[in-house]
Amino acid sequence: MTGDTMTIDDRDRSPLTCMTRRQMLILGGSAVTVLASVPLGGALAQKAVPGTADLVQSRYKPRRIATLRDIKAKTPIPFTYPVDDVRNFLVKLGERAGAGVGPDDDIVAFNTVCPHMGGPLEPESYKPEHNVVGPCLLHLSTFDLTKHGMVVSGHASDTLPQIALEVREDSVFAIGVMGLIYGYARNPVSA
């Protein structure tokens, strides 16, 4: 088994069943703290929780995206992460959002490829009135940026991958990817 997820039942190693970092972030900050405090690389990670060894090896590296003062409401900022050919955009929604950062918890970032069949969801398709991205040109899917990229109307069998952000001092950093990026069997990590 080469699972990357914190699967606790090896009969089922799909990302949906286990408490993933994505789910922890989604469920709230305290859970994140708990996970962050797990002694990674220790005996627990190696043996008691199958998959955590890989988790340690496949960590994402943070990348600085923008300074807070350069982020204007409703104005997307394109960036790549975690590797150069994965395109995303960051946007300040003006309303509280799932995994939103910044003083108003409203700065989020998402991948630009539709997880239905790979159509483009470029920043230009962001709808500031609704804080939705789309519709995808291929089959009209739309995604709710306030609710972790949930499908509003459409066909993707998973949410639009969200780029996890953190604010440190005056800058916003990308620190991970929540959800599998279209076209990948395993999310890429920066070298």
């Binding site: 190693r13 799909s14 988790l55 509280r96 790979g118 609710k147 109307s153 993707a156 599998l180 076209g183």
Partner: protein, 891 residues
């Protein structure tokens, strides 16, 4: 400083190894039935990211759109032969039909999450037969459950007759199961007390179309791709037939087609249609007939009708009257089409349209609530010849917004409108239902509908209304298979309360599972006027089997048994078994056989699903779903019919299947004259509706639908929202991301997060005065829900009109309510709210009236009304993980 180490997991999906087994199937859900492939391999190995290391034969990352890809929702762990296996369920990227290139909906895209997995939400599958003891279900053996059922059934049949033994089942859940059910109901028990899941009676869905001679599923998907104009009545195929829309209507041979949507709800497909030169006609619920009449009048006034087609293909009076012999003309379609009220031909229809008050534009504007120029524009689009004299190729689709609001008249008037525009039997010019469920119904010989006591005045035959028959206390033993019953029918809470009273409200309740005790208790109950209720399903269904049913049987379904069925272009495929059913769960045909054997009935010794399929084929022979030729050819080749069908993979073959030059040939389109062939070969059955319309003359019948028809107009007036009470229309419908009653969806993490609760879309004009905002819990309440009681037989002409029924004490006034989460959006017509249909826990149908269309026996499901009130804020106003409250048509 940012820490250098971030403990984010890297999400991945396991790739099928090169040697993974690949099986074909089709989607379990909507009528389109996209082709899927199932990759299965034992837990313990995985494929690699290189094309030569995985069964998809592609490098990962794939680096492009529209290529095979596995999303996390498309993988699960299943048991196969008792051992854990990886299962990946992917749309068939090699498909050339239905979903070319692997297009798929969110429903089909999450099929893998339907698989039984004790570590997942599907852990609540029913796994043992159970009997309710002191209110709680207790596991028992199949033998005990079916022996008790048989003993009680024998008692009921001997003492009360076949009219006291009823069944309510899906109409679509595979030919093998429906054939077995039909054999039991029609042949062995011989009861008329049967209704499919979506109707209170066993009769036509869109009877006006059938009576016109147009089969409801005459079209092929490519017709919806090839038309210049699509007139879509009471349907947005984007929402409920997704791939028909995104693959065929948005593309197809005519990608620039104009779409006209007639629906009060501006959903995503409607918005796309408007953006591409089409129209949105936000009609007042129930008024479609008037729109159709007004459109016909504009067309006739301007001489835009397709006269050549009418001259060739529309029945004249002699055609309508011919072919009946000296029969009584009491069969449903016979009495309706040769009865003065509806019967017509071109000249008579034209006169009717010009004389009909409601067809005048100014009247139509008032009744439909649509602006005159919108109606005029729609008439131009569907019928106005181009400057060069050529006609637009227009196709007409209808679905539940049409025939579930004014059953007979809406479908009949749409049929007539389509016919005068030259549609019905040509490429890109079709009249068809869009479809709801797939088509997996197969009858075993004649149904016992002739035992129905119901009659329209004039001794005209009608099917029996099972809901009313039960509520009136006529049924002592009832078996429900694979449907919710109450929430899908009308005045849901009243029906549910009455069934609860007959079953649980009776003093005779079992206290142990001793067979003699159970049989004695149930016999005492039925003798005391109560009812014994059996329910077969794959899940707990609230309240049907969780709170009420006496005996609950666990079913095995999609992916657990080899099954067959057709989609809405009549395409037959094998739905392969690829994992073990949980526990003691068995296919319904097996449960039927087990019960029938306990009853002592012969002919139920099937060993496999294929045995049932092969036996059923001769009953399919003369029908539009005929697969008899496939079975006879398989037998000739010495192979099983299921195995021959398996070789056709996700392509399958369109029924009726014919033998032409020794080869199996499918039928793309019904009624199409190009289907006419010379000699009939082998087991092929010649049917005129293959190359002409389905009437005695082969010509289609125009039907008149006077708006003030007494079987409609007083009911409509009685159920309109009452302004003095502050009521609005509260209709119901479905959206893309949930399928039907949410049975699998609520067990799929991705979908249950999207729609954890039922929704109601309310216009800001209706929400604001009540202080309702998006995310609020809102109650819909109707304090006057009509339920028809008794009076199955009409004797005098007006006996079954609403006014007369009410005067004679056959209309009971009840009430109904439900609570849903508000989405406040101008996507809905003001004065109309739309709530999710048949959603667990929130029966929007409770507000709708269980008074059937007297002409057809079908309900007017969409005509709910009530007062909206705010209950409070739902958690979804603040919870950022569940239920998006954004409007649908963002484009």
């Amino acid at each position: 400083m940012v820490e250098q180490i971030q403990p984010f997991e890297v999400i991945s999906v396991p790739l099928p190894p090169k040697d993974a087994e690949v099986l074909t199937t089709a989607c379990a859900y909507c009528t389109v039935a996209c082709g899927y492939k199932v990759y299965r391999w034992p837990v313990g190995k995985e494929g690699g990211p290189k094309a030569d290391q995985n069964a998809l034969g592609i490098d990962f990352p794939t680096g492009g759109a529209m290529l095979p890809w596995i999303s996390p929702s498309q993988h699960n762990i299943a048991r196969h032969n008792g051992k854990p296996h990886h299962v990946v369920v992917l749309p068939d990227f090699d498909a050339k039909v239905v979903n070319p290139g692997g297009n798929h909906s969110i429903r089909g895209g999450t099929l893998a999450q339907k698989i039984y997995n004790p570590a997942r939400p599907t852990r609540d599958r029913l796994v043992y037969p159970m009997v309710r003891v002191a209110g709680v279900l207790q596991p028992v053996s199949w033998d005990l459950a079916t022996e008790v059922m048989a003993e009680v059934s024998k008692h009921v049949l001997a003492k009360y007759g076949e009219h006291a033994w009823g069944m309510k089942t899906y109409s679509y859940e595979y030919f093998e199961n429906t054939y077995a059910i039909s054999k039991l109901v029609n042949t062995s028990i011989g009861t008329p007390v049967y209704a499919p899941h979506d109707k209170p009676q066993n009769a036509e869905d869109a009877a006006g179309l059938d009576d016109a001679g147009v089969n409801s599923f005459a079209a092929s998907y490519e017709d919806w791709g090839a038309c210049d104009v699509a007139f879509l009545s009471g349907v947005d195929p984007y929402e409920t037939k997704t791939i028909l829309f995104t693959e065929w209507m948005m593309k197809g041979d005519q990608p620039d087609k104009k779409m006209i949507f007639v629906t009060p709800h501006r959903t995503m497909g409607v918005a796309y249609g408007q953006q591409n030169g089409g129209l949105w006609l936000p009609i007042i619920p129930g008024a479609d007939t008037v729109l159709h009449l007004a459109l016909a009048r504009i067309i006739i006034e301007n001489n835009w009708q397709d006269q050549e087609f009418i001259d060739n293909w529309v029945a004249n009076q002699w055609d309508v009257e011919s072919g009946y012999g000296r029969g009584t003309r009491n069969t449903r379609w016979q009495w309706r089409t040769t009865w003065g009220t509806f019967q017509s031909d071109w000249n008579d229809y034209r006169k009717f349209i010009m004389a009909e008050e409601s067809a005048k534009l100014e009247n139509a504007v008032r009744i439909t609530g649509l602006p005159a120029d919108l109606i005029r524009k729609a008439a131009e689009l569907i019928a106005k010849p181009k400057p060069n004299g050529s006609r637009p190729k227009t196709s007409f689709m209808l679905e539940k917004g049409n025939y579930w609001s004014n059953n007979y008249m809406n479908s009949a008037s749409l049929g007539a409108l389509g016919l005068i525009c030259g549609a019905g039997n040509r490429p890109g010019r079709v009249i068809s239902r869009g479809g709801g469920h797939q088509r997996g119904g197969m009858g075993a010989g004649f149904s016992k509908g002739w035992l129905s006591p119901e009659k329209y005045p004039g001794r005209r035959k009608k099917a029996l209304n099972v809901d009313r028959w039960v509520m009136d206390g006529n049924v002592r033993f009832m078996w429900v298979i694979g449907c919710t019953w109450f929430a899908a029918m009308l005045a849901s809470q009243e029906l549910q309360s009455r069934v609860h009273e007959l079953v649980r409200g009776n003093p005779h309740q079992p206290r142990n599972v001793n067979k003699t005790h159970l049989v004695d208790t149930y016999k005492k109950r039925v003798d005391a006027g109560g009812m014994v209720l059996v329910d077969s399903d794959i899940y707990p269904v609230d309240p049907l089997n969780t709170q009420i049913a006496d005996i609950v049987l666990p079913a095995a379904g999609w992916g657990e048994v080899d099954f067959t069925r057709c989609n809405s272009e009549r395409r037959l495929r094998l739905y392969s078994a690829f994992n073990d059913p949980p526990g003691e769960a068995k296919p319904d045909w097996w449960a039927i056989a087990k019960f029938a054997q306990k009853m002592g009935f012969a002919g139920y010794d099937w060993k496999s699903s294929n045995d049932v399929f092969e036996e059923s084929s001769r009953f399919s022979r003369g029908g539009v779903l005929s697969y008899h030729v496939l079975v006879t050819e398989a037998k000739r080749e010495g192979r099983k019919a299921h195995e021959l069908l398996r070789t056709l993979g996700t392509t399958g073959i369109q029924t009726p299947i014919r033998l032409v030059d020794g080869k199996l040939v499918g039928t793309k389109r019904l009624h199409d004259p190009s289907n006419k062939r010379g000699d009939i070969e082998g087991a092929t059955v010649d049917q005129r509706w293959l190359y002409a319309f389905g009437t005695p003359s082969g010509r289609a019948v125009l039907l008149k639908t006077p708006w003030k028809f007494s079987g409609w107009i007083d009911f409509y007036e009685a159920v309109k929202p009452r302004k003095e009470k502050g009521e609005i229309w509260i209709t119901n419908g479905r959206v893309n991301e949930t399928w039907q009653s949410g049975f699998d969806d609520l067990r799929k993490p991705h979908l249950s997060k999207r729609w954890p609760w039922p929704w109601i879309v309310i216009h800001p004009d209706d929400a604001k005065p009540k202080g309702i905002e998006s995310g609020d819990l809102v109650q819909g309440y109707n304090d006057e829900v009509f339920v028809q009681t008794g009076a199955p037989i009409g004797v005098l002409e007006k006996d079954l009109t609403f006014t007369e029924l009410r005067k004679n004490g056959h209309i009971k006034v009840t009430s109904g309510q439900f609570v849903a989460v508000a989405i406040v959006s101008d996507e809905i017509r003001p004065g109309v709210a739309i709530a999710s249909f048949n959603y667990p826990g929130a029966p929007a149908n409770s507000l709708c009236h269980a008074v059937p269309d007297p002409v057809t026996g079908n309900y007017r499901y969409k005509l709910g009304r009530g007062v909206l009130s705010k209950v409070g804020a739902s958690v979804y106003r603040t919870l950022l993980t569940e239920m998006s409250l954004k409007p649908r048509p963002i484009i």
